[in-house]
Amino acid sequence: MSNNNGGYSSNNYMRLIFPSRPANVAFARVAIAAFATQLPFTLEEIDEIKVATSEAVSNCVIHAYPDSVGLVEINAEIDSGLFRLSIKDTGVGIADLDAAKLPSYSTNPERMGLGLVFMDSFMDSLSIETAVGRGTTAIMEKKPSNPAPDDQDQAQDVYEP
């Protein structure tokens, strides 16, 4: 695959809006992972972005709109080699954000309460803006660990969809 301008330095963005249905969790993580591959992420890093996206969208489905279907809006951006992801709902909001960040904060025995832990661990940064009755936005950033896509030895690890 040849690329005259190096490709990876180009800035880019995308927006996805979809209803908070469980079937859209897989759709969202696959779409976001495909977009993220415009940066030289390794396969492992792409898997981490998939998990983080899956957790954030699952939170919208389960928690933001517990008794209804609402809209989830994802904005993804590539900005000077940095991948920035914002996942927004206009649902119920989080009353106690500090408690929600604790591992195993879950009201359901079939759930592990690890969603925010995975988002925080698998991305370089996570910030959450929330207001009860207004909704929640999770903003995450990640930079490829290998910023030199023209390095032939390491380029083999880069995910090609």
Partner: protein, 110 residues
């Protein structure tokens, strides 16, 4: 996600393929629990994850739920053939500390 369930003596072997997430977790739970309810003699559950390439916290929760169910009826559960692409979520969750991954292949787990 697809599930293949096979009863071998008192062991239930479940081969999972596809993604284990919020959408697929309920079917995973219900299909396994139905067999466990029908056959009370089953005392070992083996989950073969060779064909699973994505697991998130919803998937982990469903796996942990089956482990708790097996323990509550005096049985055991084993995981086999966990792919590198999903092992990180298991490690980070601490689930490997609870659920044994003693066997790398299904036959030795049965």
């Amino acid at each position: 996600m697809k599930l293949q369930l096979e009863k071998v003596g008192r062991t239930l072997v479940v081969r999972i393929s596809g993604d284990l997430d919020l959408e697929s977790a309920p079917a995973f739970r219900d299909k396994i629990d139905n067999v466990l309810t029908e056959y009370e003699m089953i005392n070992k559950l083996v989950l073969n994850l060779a064909e699973v390439n994505f697991v998130d916290s919803s998937g982990l929760g469903a796996i942990l739920g089956r482990y708790k169910k097996m323990r509550s009826r005096g049985g055991f559960m084993y995981l086999t053939e966990v792919e590198p692409s999903v092992s990180k979520v298991f490690e980070l969750s601490g689930l490997f500390k609870i659920i044994p991954l003693e066997h790398t292949n299904e036959d030795s787990a049965i």
